[in-house]
Structures are given as structure tokens and as C-alpha cells.
């Protein structure tokens, strides 16, 4: 029996990694059940290649008896860093062999990663993991990561539920939807500010975030959306006033390369004074009708406690297909011993 060893992983070792991927628990895009194992692994390998090519990446593997037993890859998050004004990095890949014991290899990799990140001046590490990956969850918690929120991944399959067959509740005649225009940005921004003031996502629930971070993050998402980060935005109006918006993206270049049939509903909000009036449903459906021209499947992530969204999406035929936990670790809390 050979002991484990932690070593840095670079682009040159990708071939080596390729042979081990099928044994590792984490698989990307677990909520898209129509993907084959081969598609997932090819996508993952490409994604890892891209991430390793990132200048800020830190990647480690743990080997046992020559094979890779665990993998950890961390890259800087310039977006979070800019918005929150603290240096953020994301533990983007954290996986272990499915027959590995619970799991010294993961602990060793995380310890190494935390020490290195701290030495580079990273202030906060974030990590999202699938809710069934309990060994990884436990390793994160043992290393001082704290649970910040849980997201449900919802998927709509238009080949199973054709949009034209959808029966919707009657909506007020005063409500209509249209594509957003650049000049809508300030009104949408004001709406987002109101809608997310008392929200409960991970930026709100982390007590170590600087005050006001939650609102700032959502503001910045709206701005980025209007600056081209999303592919289309739908707004809902009642009597000429914007009362909701929904931002959508086509499949990424990597997803397209690997034939992942998907469009993403990324972000949206309803003005609090107009909730419960069918605005969300109208907006979602308008966005889905546009999405249908590029993909059969659509996905969105929503907070586990966002019950109105769970209800509205369920009525429209979206299904829960995944769950992920978000963890944060502030490195000022102390390094592993």
C-alpha cells in the first residue's frame, strides 16, 4: 500500500488526469441528465484545461498507487474582488475518487490550497458543491468553510413540455412583456435594488461581507447584463412602468463545443409591489419563447428558500434537477494547523 502524496497539477498533466476522471465523484453539469458520461468527462477535461491556463490557477492532485485520488483547482474571481473590494478566489473543482476513504486526501489538498491562497493575499475562498457530495462537504467544513446558502437547479425540457401547449392563468391586460432596451438600465437597476434589499443569498448571509455587499452584487449583475454579459433581457411593464425583468444567456462557447443543449435563465426580479400578479410567469414564459429558438433545455438556479419561485416554476413545468451548497472561508479566520 502506497501513501498519498499531494502534488501540483499543470496543463502538461492533463493526459494523466484524463485517465482518472471517470473514477472521480464530481462530474460537471449533474442537473442535465440527458448528457452522456463521455460528454461530461470531455467537457470537464476542457474546462479544467481552460482553468489551468488561467494565470491565477492553483491546482493540486493527490495520488495513491500512481492514480489520482483527489483533485482541487482554485482560480481568482476578479468579478467578486472588484464588486466586494476584497480579494476572492473560487475553489472551482474539488473531487475525489468514489472509493476513497473519508478523506484525508481532500483535507490535505484543501490545507495546501488555503495556505497558498493566503500567501497570495486571497481574503475569501468560495466553493459550490453538489448536495450529494457529502465527503467534500465534510472536508470543507473541517477546513473551516461555512455554509452560506443552498441553490436548487431547475431544468425545463421543451421537448417534454411544449411551450405552445402551456395553459397560463389569465393576466391583467395592462401587463405586457418586451425585450429590454439600453435606456431601461436605470429603471431596472432601481427595481433590482428594491427587490434584493432584503434578500437572503450568500452575499447577504455571510456576516463577514462588508456592509451593503448583497445589494451591490445584484446591482452589478444588472449593469453587467446591460453591458453584454447576457444575451437577452425581457422586461415586464404595467402601465408603462417596468415591474420585472429576466436576463438570459445562450450556451457558453464550451457548452456549445460539447453539444450541451442549454439556455440559461440567469437572473431576474419582480418589483415587490407587483409580486403575486403573474408578472414572474409572464416574464419567464416570454424568456422561454426566445430561448426555444436556440435550445430545447433551459436551466436556472434559485435559492432553496425562494418559495414563490419554486411554485411559479413548478407550475410552468420546470423540474428540480440538482442542488448545490455554497461555502465561504475567510482566510483571516486563521489558517489550518
Amino acid at each position: 500500500m502506497t501513501g498519498t502524496t499531494a502534488a501540483e497539477l499543470d496543463v502538461a498533466s492533463l493526459e494523466d488526469l484524463k485517465a482518472s476522471l471517470s473514477r472521480l465523484t464530481h462530474k460537471p453539469l449533474p442537473h442535465l441528465s440527458y448528457l452522456t458520461a463521455g460528454q461530461r468527462e470531455a467537457y470537464w477535461l476542457d474546462e479544467l484545461g481552460q482553468d489551468l491556463a488561467d494565470e491565477s490557477s492553483q491546482a493540486f492532485v493527490s495520488r495513491r498507487s500512481g492514480g489520482i485520488e483527489a483533485l482541487a483547482v482554485c482560480i481568482d474571481s476578479p468579478w467578486d474582488t472588484r464588486v466586494v473590494n476584497r480579494r476572492f478566489a473560487i475553489v472551482k473543482h474539488l473531487a475525489h475518487a468514489d472509493n476513497a476513504p473519508d478523506s484525508k486526501a481532500l483535507d490535505d489538498l484543501l490545507t495546501e490550497m488555503i495556505v497558498r491562497a493566503a500567501s497570495r493575499g486571497v481574503e475569501c475562498l468560495t466553493c459550490k458543491i453538489h448536495a450529494l457530495d457529502s465527503a467534500v462537504m465534510r472536508a470543507l467544513e473541517r477546513q473551516g468553510f461555512l455554509l452560506m446558502d443552498t441553490l436548487l437547479d431547475l431544468v425545463f425540457d421543451s421537448s417534454r413540455t411544449p411551450l405552445e401547449n402551456m395553459r397560463l392563468p389569465k393576466r391583467t391586460e395592462r401587463l405586457h412583456t418586451r425585450a429590454a432596451r439600453p435606456e431601461d438600465a436605470p429603471e431596472v437597476l432601481a427595481l433590482a435594488h428594491k427587490a434584493f434589499a432584503k434578500y437572503f443569498g450568500r452575499y447577504h448571509s455571510d456576516p463577514k461581507m462588508p456592509p451593503g455587499t448583497g445589494a451591490k452584487v445584484y446591482d452589478q449583475w444588472v449593469c453587467s447584463g446591460f453591458e453584454g454579459w447576457v444575451d437577452w433581457t425581457v422586461v415586464a411593464e404595467i402601465d408603462g412602468k417596468i415591474v420585472g425583468y429576466s436576463m438570459w444567456k445562450n450556451a457558453s462557447a464550451l457548452e456549445t463545443k460539447h453539444c450541451v443543449d442549454i439556455a440559461h435563465c440567469n437572473f431576474g426580479a419582480i418589483h415587490p409591489n407587483f409580486s403575486g400578479r403573474g408578472v414572474y410567469t409572464a416574464l419567464k414564459l416570454a424568456g422561454m419563447r426566445i430561448a426555444e429558438s436556440s435550445a430545447k433545455h433551459f436551466d436556472l438556479a434559485t435559492h432553496i428558500a425562494n418559495y414563490p419561485v419554486h411554485r411559479a416554476t413548478a407550475k410552468l413545468g420546470w423540474r428540480i434537477a440538482g442542488a448545490r451548497h455554497s461555502f465561504h472561508k475567510w482566510l483571516s479566520d486563521g489558517l489550518p494547523e
Binding site: 443552498t150 418559495y307 423540474r319
Partner: protein, 330 residues
């Protein structure tokens, strides 16, 4: 400062409850604060009355600012062969600039010391997903996340059974009340259905091997011994291929005029999945439940997507979410 908490301070606690962040019965969205608090106080009183209870309060200037109540869990202990208990209540007053984390940590430390002395081996904590200060205090004190549950609720005042269109039934399917002789058939289904499952007993690597399937087996055995109020079995061509366990409002719920019934557990023989049996069992169970309650409550693992989907199609709504944590002592 920390002090022991017992039934003699229930009056003080009653006054303090409104300042705590915890929302009892959070999944029942239409209840008034007063009813929630009355129920909570009743629950606390029951917890404190148990022989195994260990409880502490954090008092500042004569006001209770936080408390924790623990009890042994004989059922878990017997099945696993490990001494297991549960944090039944933990709550803290939240100020504008104070999440209460330090108070929670002190309470957890004090409790842990007592439990080590008692010989408790594993402590379980279940927390509502929005109670971040409690979640963080648990994690900072060595509790590890084991699973997450979604609380589904069906409200008969919002949706009647007649409005639901369940899929056509398999002609060979019969659903009937279980009889004592059915127990062994249900045990066989359990073995098959829960072997590869992923609940908190499966997720905890420190549970003795085989614990998870044993837990589900004992659950069914207890149901036959009277823990459940009705058990339905599904038969296809005379063979039992599924079951569902249900309970009427519990005594404490009835005492507090909470009109709720509970869907607790169901399983289908894996060979008979995707034939609408689960939906049919659920639909018939709901038909009985409506005689006893306005609301139906059913917790479902966050990754049990087929069950979530079926419940949503039948008109159930996600109304709450909870995380389970375990901490092994020693």
C-alpha cells in the same frame, strides 16, 4: 452568563420568545406569531419534561438571550448501537449588529461538555436553512452537514383532490390498508429501495455499517406497532410492491389546533418504478388524510427529484428547508 434551564423558567422564556430569530412551524406560512409561539412553548415544555433533557440558557440582565435543549434519542441509539441524542431547540436573540454567534457557541460548548460526561457519542442538530447564525455556530463547533430536506406542504383549502388529475392507474394495481402479515413484504421492499439511498444515515461515514437500511426497516416495524396511523400498500397482481406511511395530527398539534397530517415515508420496489404506483399511493393517502387535516406535511431529501416532482404535480408546495448536522464526540 450561562445557567441551567428548566421548567421553572418557562414564564421568563415565554416572554423572551418574540426576540428570537427562530420561526417555529416555518413551513406553515399562514399561522399567526402568537400561535407559533404557543406551539413552540408547548414543545419546549415537553422537551424539558423528558428525563434525559440537558438545557442551558444565556441570560443578560435577567433576560434570556439564548437557549439550547438537548435530549437523548433512544430510538436512534438502539438501532445504531451508539448513544445518540438531538438538539431539540436552539435559538438566540438577534440584535442589529449581533448575530448571536458567540452566545450560540458558548451554549454549544457547555452542552458538549455535559454530553461528554454523560457518554453521548453523537449529537444531531436540525436547523432551518435560513438560520445562518445557528448553522455557522454548529459548523464552528465541529458539526458536519449530513443532508438537507425540503418541507412540502399540501393545503386542502387551496387545492381540492377533485382538481387533481392523477395519471391513469395500472389496471393490475390495488391499493389497500396494510395488515400485520404484510410486514415482511415491506421489509423486503425496504432492503431494495433504500440500499443505495442518500439520507443522513447513509451520508455519515461514522455510522456503523448497515445503519441506514436498519433505520428504514425499524421505521416500518414501528409503524406496524402503532407509530403510524395508516399504512397503505400497493399490490400489482397480488404482489406487494410499495407502501406509504401516514400519521394524523400529533397530540401536541391537536392541542394547539394545528390541522396537519403527516406523510412520513413511502417506497416502491425498484422493479416497479415509473408505473405511477408512487403517485397512486400518495393520492389515496391524501384522500384519507383530508378527513383529519387541512394541511399535509412531507419532508423530502433535497436530491430526491422524482418524489419532489410527483408531489409538485399533485399540488404540494415547497414551504420550508432544513439542514441536518451530526457531531461525533470523542
Amino acid at each position: 452568563m450561562i445557567a441551567r434551564l428548566d421548567s421553572t423558567v418557562l414564564g421568563d422564556l415565554s416572554e423572551a420568545l418574540p426576540q428570537f430569530a427562530h420561526l417555529p412551524l416555518a413551513h406553515l406560512h399562514d399561522l399567526s406569531s402568537e400561535r407559533r409561539r404557543a406551539y413552540w412553548l408547548d414543545e419546549i415544555s415537553k422537551s424539558l419534561a423528558k428525563e434525559s433533557s440537558i438545557a442551558f440558557q444565556w441570560v443578560v440582565s435577567g433576560t434570556i438571550k439564548g437557549f439550547i435543549i438537548y435530549n437523548d434519542s433512544p430510538w436512534d441509539s438502539e438501532i445504531t448501537g451508539r448513544r445518540i441524542g438531538i438538539v431539540e431547540h436552539v435559538a438566540v436573540a438577534v440584535g442589529e449588529k449581533d448575530s448571536g454567534t458567540e452566545i450560540l457557541q458558548e451554549l454549544l460548548d457547555e452542552l458538549t461538555r455535559s454530553l461528554v460526561d454523560r457518554g453521548t457519542q453523537c449529537v444531531v442538530g436540525k436547523v432551518h436553512s435560513n438560520e445562518l447564525p445557528v448553522i455557522h455556530a454548529l459548523e464552528q463547533r465541529g458539526f458536519l452537514l449530513m443532508d438537507s430536506l425540503l418541507d412540502f406542504v399540501f393545503d386542502f383549502s387551496r387545492t381540492s383532490l377533485e382538481e387533481i388529475n392523477p395519471p391513469k392507474r395500472d389496471k393490475q394495481l390495488q391499493i389497500r390498508h396494510a395488515e400485520p402479515a404484510d410486514l415482511s413484504a415491506l421489509m423486503t421492499i425496504n432492503e431494495k429501495a433504500f440500499t443505495g439511498y442518500f439520507g443522513r444515515y447513509h451520508a455519515d461515514p461514522r455510522m456503523p455499517p448497515g445503519t441506514a437500511t436498519k433505520v428504514y426497516a425499524e421505521w416500518v416495524r414501528s409503524a406496524f406497532q402503532g407509530w403510524a396511523d395508516w399504512i397503505l400498500v400497493a399490490e400489482v397482481d397480488g404482489r406487494i410492491v410499495g407502501y406509504g406511511l401516514w400519521r394524523k395530527p400529533l397530540e401536541i398539534e391537536a392541542r394547539n389546533s394545528l390541522s396537519v397530517a403527516h406523510y412520513d415515508l413511502a417506497a416502491i420496489d425498484p422493479e416497479f418504478l415509473r408505473r405511477g404506483l408512487w403517485t397512486a399511493l400518495m393520492f389515496d393517502g391524501m384522500g384519507i388524510a383530508r378527513n383529519y387535516a387541512q394541511y399535509l406535511i412531507g419532508p423530502v431529501h433535497v436530491c430526491n427529484y422524482p418524489v419532489q416532482h410527483t408531489l409538485q404535480k399533485l399540488g404540494w408546495r415547497i414551504s420550508g428547508a432544513r439542514h441536518s448536522f451530526h457531531k461525533w464526540l470523542g
